[in-house]
Subunit: 112 residues, 2 copies
DNA sequence: TATATTTATTCTACAAAACAGAATAAATGG
DNA sequence: CCATTTATTCTGTTTTGTAGAATAAATATA
């Protein structure tokens, strides 16, 4: 029984943010990136819950940052997408596009 | 506080199927269309639950079909996307694309 | 060196979405 | 009538999505 599941909508958004941020991806920067790109106001709790689930599933990997805070404050936990995670994004991407491609409501979004 | 929510991943898939099927959209044909396009094996229960939820939110509208079954069997319940529903697809589409556009895992899906 | 401040993550709880399988319904051919 | 066919509804569970309070760790400073 091969991999049968697809990523959820928010999971996709979160992984997208990780991919864009690269090295810089941690809690606050992820929240900001999502807000910048989608106008979505994500709470910390919501984000970490999703991040932890994705980690448990092996789609993202985490590591603690150096204690190099410039101004005070707790250490950061950085995240990156795994190869598995990337594959899942592709799977979901394909499914979504196969279903939506050519539909006006979808295309319009694509070029906005 | 205007409309702040986005469609779920499966909701998007289902509405996509409705848009493609047009007049022909009802339980079984929707399940088949989703399978054809995404390889996803959707159970009747899962589909109707989603359809009903979307109806409650005003994103799809339903009407019973004529009693014109060719071979026996219960009447069909046909579904169509509302203007509101179409707008929601667009909203989700924009958000998703803003976040994913340009990422290899997303683009690859688009042209597959 | 206490403690206020800053930055960030974890915890707790709950609502919504996704999903399966059994039950039920309605139609018709025999 | 009753078996068969086609389709929807019901019931229950798991997974995702979400917020807000609590907690943690670091540093500046009184």
């Amino acid at each position: 029984m091969p991999n049968e599941k697809f990523l959820g909508e928010f999971e996709l958004i979160v992984i997208g943010a990780l991919m864009r941020l690269g090295e810089e991806a941690y809690g606050v920067s992820i929240i900001n990136e999502i807000d910048r790109r989608t106008g979505r106001d994500v709470s910390a709790g919501a984000l970490y819950a999703t991040l932890n689930r994705l980690e448990k599933k092996g789609y993202v990997r985490a590591h603690m940052g150096e204690a190099s805070a410039v101004r005070g404050g707790r250490a950061k936990r950085f995240f990156e997408v795994t190869t598995e995670g990337r594959a899942q994004v592709e799977r979901s991407s394909v499914a979504l596009h196969q279903m939506m491609q050519g539909l006006p409501a979808w295309i319009k979004g694509a070029q906005a």
